[in-house]
Symmetry: C2
Subunit: 504 residues, 2 copies
Amino acid sequence: MTPAPSGPAAPTLEDPVPATRLGGDLPFASPEEAAALVPATATLLVSGFGGVGYPKLVPEAIAAADEERELTVVSGGGVGDEIDRDLVESGDMARRYPFVPNETSRGAANDGRLAFHDRHISRLADEVRFGGLRAGMRGETIAVVEAVAVGPDWLVPSTSIGHTPAYVGAADRIVVEVNRAQPLDLARVHDVHVRDDPPNRSPIPLDDPLGETGGPAVRFDPEKLAAVVETDRPDDPYEFREVSATDEAIAANLGEFLEAELDRNPLLADAVNLQFGVGSLGNALMGALADVDFGDREVAYVGEVVQDGLLDMLDAGDLRGASATSLALSSEGQDRLFADVERYAEDVVLRPADVSNAPELIDRFGVVGVNSAVEVDLYGNVNATHIGGTRVVNGIGGGGDFARNCRLGVVALPSTAVGGDVSRVVPLTPHVDHSEHDASVVVTEHGVADLRGRSPRERAEELIAVADPSFREDLEAYRARADDGGGNTPHHLPSAFSWNSTDT
Amino acid sequence: MTPAPSGPAAPTLEDPVPATRLGGDLPFASPEEAAALVPATATLLVSGFGGVGYPKLVPEAIAAADEERELTVVSGGGVGDEIDRDLVESGDMARRYPFVPNETSRGAANDGRLAFHDRHISRLADEVRFGGLRAGMRGETIAVVEAVAVGPDWLVPSTSIGHTPAYVGAADRIVVEVNRAQPLDLARVHDVHVRDDPPNRSPIPLDDPLGETGGPAVRFDPEKLAAVVETDRPDDPYEFREVSATDEAIAANLGEFLEAELDRNPLLADAVNLQFGVGSLGNALMGALADVDFGDREVAYVGEVVQDGLLDMLDAGDLRGASATSLALSSEGQDRLFADVERYAEDVVLRPADVSNAPELIDRFGVVGVNSAVEVDLYGNVNATHIGGTRVVNGIGGGGDFARNCRLGVVALPSTAVGGDVSRVVPLTPHVDHSEHDASVVVTEHGVADLRGRSPRERAEELIAVADPSFREDLEAYRARADDGGGNTPHHLPSAFSWNSTDT
């Protein structure tokens, strides 16, 4: 038996805040020394989600080193420039999963220089462990993760959890970056439940979306801890664009729909568990929820990321609380949360991404999910990831987890793109992320298309009614042409992509 | 309080077989009398899954009646001619969910005469209860379900469970057909767990796929029981086609892949939980599994339907047991099972379809799922439902539940259709049921395309290698043309459907 490592024990649910950021006899290293541990061919499993909580100095040092590497990089979700810009520009990143919100890595994927595939967030932890990324996991597996504190066999994550628990479990060696720019009290928001393995996996032990199961500590085998690097570099977080008149019109239509649904859907009789997708539109919609009359119902956010709009709702007392895997706030939002983290921690809980996005919990909590898209077609198929069917933007992220498993799914999007020149309601999406089986309700600034129970032909009618008026005639013409060929889902394939054939 | 209804109590897990088929003071009716209870506009929630266990005499009597009706018909899965032929031909069926394996209802859907939409099996129970079929649920809701026994507030399902528990719970009134053609001992195979409601829904209390949670009884409000009809008409079950040389070649490739995976995947170290899709190919593949060397591992079937191939495996001692929602056997298979139901019941358990197909259980049991498809495209998008992108065949059924949630998903299909004239590996599927995010491994008679961890460009290479040799050159030419346009998922949209533009 290995003797217990020296140093303080891991913090717990009852006593979540570690006494010190650096507990015990740790293998301190400079970023360059830690970078040198990474072989020429390796798989880096990095922390980070929603652009925060990612390691910064070690990836930067790998990129700066003379050594040429061929790395697979797997993150939880979106990360910063030190990973998705620097490692691409240095030529060290050969493969990437599951998300590319950064323009450099996205550009490389679209040019065929970076082997990228976007994966469902909920499944990634298992995919890393059970061969789901088989061709991509090459060489030694090294977890490089950010923490606010570390001990000999534990760490406390920083501004996101993502898949850190699974990644340190799966890694051959572990490198931890301890970030002093983030408050140690972040430990209060973390609730780390680690799932056991199939085929006798236990249910996730939560009966309330805001419930707590564990403490803030991510445990690991102390033998694997290869380096601890200190830093005080802040995250490079989200910048939200200004709320537009279109956003406001979408929010108003969504609000009206939700109020009608509160009246008629027994699912929402006593409580409402809401999820909104990542991004500026999602953030704007969250903010607009303050205007919805939820009556006596308890309202909670049960999603993937905490964005600025949620802090507004929490401050206004409109929300019972929020469960997510990342604090994907703007710089101002981070300042606001960090200044008052002990208070926010009473209502906010971060979980591993395979818990926040677990199909099982989204189902059990009856989540109402609102997600955006690139475009939607006449039958409710949703393209959430590819411009013109070919050029990836970001990746599917958790959109599929929520679209599939929530009890009421809404796709919210503006009816046009490119300043009104391109319709986002199209005859046939050239890429499908959420199929017609997963789309229930589509909201644009022109209204609500309630697809529930409608046949494909009826769906087309509903969707044309929420398209931009200047495109409705052309959509009707396509529909008439398609009807000639018959079928439960009529199409005229030779002209189905005539709207997509130019670069949008 | 309503006084307890008179009659025998419901059978239990300990004492599953009712003493009598007809217990207590029941509202007996002729098929015609029961049919007369159905108003001109109504929603029929019918039992049946995999072509068995559906009500026969009452739908037939509705179709035969002079009254003109406008009915929505919601089944669990596939049902027989009395529903999907007679009610369509009589003009009484206006809307249909979630499946049309019958040529009459399928034809009506494809001609636009029947409003049809295919839905995920796992979600249907909740959709019926929480507005998921909103536009389609019209008029009074009447459950018409087959049973082998009925009491004043309970029934025991016959050859399938499907969504019967949810349907009798959601219905305004209940009509039960008691079928004497099926052995009362079928009670021994049923395990009825009824899920509670979100947003505080409990996990499904199973830690073993063959575990038992309840008895064979489906409970209902005795006030709702409107009619009990007796019958001895047998099911009109599946006919499997002969196993072809192509099936055998696919089975051999699948077997080889599974054996390699047993060696390398920790998921399968101790036990293997397998699911196979419904149909002749699925049945043939199941039968072929007897040749796979599973070593000391315990192997169970954890799927949707028990087909004849599974009985062979059970008889050979190759399986620990099977969990499903339907005994979708051929006539010979039914005879074989009925003759020895007490013995088979030791190893076979039927569950409600929202349990057999629950994402939560498919995940927790680490299921290896093998499903078929109409076609697959160069990037792993799977069309499982639409010929030529327009004409529906059957519907998605439980394919999406397993493709999304199983830990290892295999799509098994012949490389060609129409006697070799049409490739089933195409540039772009004109309909997508399982997206590229859900496809891991594709098996044809020409080999195995292991897509795990591969970028879209790499996937195309893998998939062309398992296409029929006579189509590979054309697929390569498409790929080269697509590459010119760039993108993470290269396409040449103007020619993407040139292969699909004729009727296949």
